[in-house]
């Protein structure tokens, strides 16, 4: 398991390459990268992500451990950023490695659903100096139900 909570920019292609080099005999590698939507000074100046240092990494690891229990996956990579992010920058990424694609896809979706609603991050959007906290939606919560 590789988990990183960081403010620094990351290059997802380099991260995938590094991750894949640590893996043994796998047949499937699924990756997801979340990117800050919007165009600068049009729909979004920047995004700011707050998190709960101390809890964030532990909570992500618990979510990953749950995924490892549920699916036959070989390894997992999670990177999640905090701090100020510009439109177009990567926010986070998930990679799951497995023998077969179904496990890798499902585990990646599970991780995404839980990271969205159970990892202690809070997004704020800033446009023309106006700040607004992104609100969690009922769809976010409902998407957890499919895994119960």
């Amino acid at each position: 398991m590789h988990v990183s909570v960081q403010s620094e920019f990351f290059d997802f292609s380099a991260e995938i390459k590094n991750f894949s080099e640590t893996l043994g005999n796998i047949g499937a590698l699924v990756t997801f990268t979340g990117i800050v939507r919007g165009q600068k000074s049009n729909t979004l100046d920047y995004m700011f992500i707050e998190h709960y240092p101390g809890m964030t990494e532990t909570q992500i690891k618990l979510i990953v451990e749950d995924a490892i229990k549920r699916w036959k996956i070989c390894d997992v990579l999670v990177i999640h950023r905090y701090g100020k992010l510009e439109p177009g920058e990567p926010i986070m990424m998930v990679a799951t490695a497995a023998e077969h694609r179904r496990e890798a896809f499902e585990a990646a979706e599970y991780l995404m659903d839980y990271l969205k609603s159970r990892a202690p991050f809070w997004k704020k959007e800033v446009l023309n100096g106006e700040e607004s906290w992104v609100e969690a939606t009922s769809e976010d919560e409902a998407s957890l139900n499919r895994w119960r």
Binding site: E50, K116, A119, F121, W122
Partner: protein, 82 residues
Amino acid sequence: MIDLIYFSWIRERIGKSSEAIETKAATVVELIEELKVKDIRYSEVFSDLGSFRVAINQELADFNASIIGAKEIAFFPPMTGG
């Protein structure tokens, strides 16, 4: 003493990111009731239990959970990671 930690709009509306308090409350709900009496900012922020979450010692918890012996209690809105 228990450390209370606030995040996101809860931190902004209360006007501080953390504080250490003495409490006689045995559960999260009792603690919230104590805070609400303390100042109008708390009663506004904590008026709707559906609008925020709580973690005890950095683990997600229910509002009815015991806080006896807890070191750190955090209040925050539903998370928006990913």
